[in-house]
Symmetry: C2
Subunit: 218 residues, 2 copies
């Protein structure tokens, strides 16, 4: 593994997991010392992170971890709804029916995964990730897939902000199952509707749990 990849992965993980708070300045020398590599790979890693929007060049004084405000979350979901609704509709038309029937069946069993001992819900998130991947493949549009991938980075960061209690995850699993079912049925308008419904509920949940915690993060 290249040193620049290592630096990138490490920094990215730290930002997404909120171990590096928004506003933190990431100096090149400081990070190269912390990560045990020289400035060059750190520099490349910071460049990649800035291109993704996880950090922002602060002109002369290093790069800073980008903040996510409540307005940002609204904007993020506005774009997400646009992209994912279209993607679901395309998947319903172009996707392979059996793939999504299979995912639908598995998602119906998801509550069992949530009751298992894993506190990180690893298997559950992996299953949802497989649905995302299946949609990405089905749409046959690399530009749209790329746009969604770049969005997901920010969304994972937002998700960590919300309280992912078992109740919400169970409901989300049912919503995902509906999306998979709609795509499998080959009905693009239905797939769109199921996606929009899921995203609205997801956004409401995030904003609610955020409101309670008083977590504005700037």
């Amino acid at each position: 593994m290249r040193a620049s990849d290592k630096a990138y992965a490490s920094l990215r993980e730290d930002i997404i997991e909120w171990r590096l708070a928004p506003g933190t300045v990431l100096g090149e020398v400081e990070q190269s010392a912390r990560l045990g590599v020289s400035r060059t790979p750190v520099r490349e890693a910071l460049g990649r992170l800035t291109a993704e929007g996880l950090t922002t060049a602060a002109g002369g004084r290093g790069v800073v971890v980008t903040a996510i405000s409540l307005e940002d979350i609204d904007e993020l979901f506005e774009l997400r709804e646009t992209l994912e609704a279209k993607a679901a509709a395309l998947a319903a038309v172009r996707g392979e029916r059996r793939v999504f029937e299979q995912l639908h069946a598995e998602l119906l069993e998801a509550p069992a995964l949530l009751e298992a001992g894993d506190p990180a819900r690893h298997e559950y998130y992996a299953l949802v990730g497989r649905l995302d991947d299946a949609i990405d493949t089905a749409i046959s549009n690399s530009y749209l897939a790329q746009a969604m991938r770049s969005l997901r980075v920010h969304l994972v960061r937002v998700r960590r902000l919300a309280a992912d209690d078992a109740a919400r995850l169970g409901a989300a699993a049912a919503e995902h199952a509906s999306i998979a079912e709609a795509i499998a049925s080959g009905n693009p308008r239905l797939a769109e509707a199921a996606t929009i419904l899921h995203l609205h509920r997801s956004l409401s949940h995030i904003k609610n749990s955020n409101l309670k915690a008083g977590n504005t993060s700037h």
Copy 2:
């Protein structure tokens, strides 16, 4: 101006203007010699270009200029329609009416610009660019604006492929005027429809002139 910015701007320009053909390998040493800067800024420039999708890392043997196939153009416009239709709708709701009324009036006068002596149609493209900027501002969504900006890079490249004759540009100006008018009227569905209409005609024109030229570029 930083050397890396210079290298980036120069390479980007060369790729967009098709002076660097798709498939061309861009070696770091070779480009640093050609551009008169050292490998480090060239490396950063190539990284940025790869992040944008204009070049692709070829693993071990430099980066290559990305090809644009006819399928890519279809995919590009599929995403473009999704994003710009949404943007137009949002602009109709959130934008300042007078800005788009002004642009509408100017776009109706665009044919005069096309008859002026400038073969590059500099003023015409500047006017269309101002419409794009106005929409970007009106939507109040930095993520959506960013997604559209990253798309436009590829679209400029595609546009160079098409024969931008005066007839098509005149029609396009009328279509842009319709979009501005629809946004000014505050009707999101109308703005969406005007945008979709324009994009479909634009795509048809590109595919037609491309068919005639037999220009597949891989």
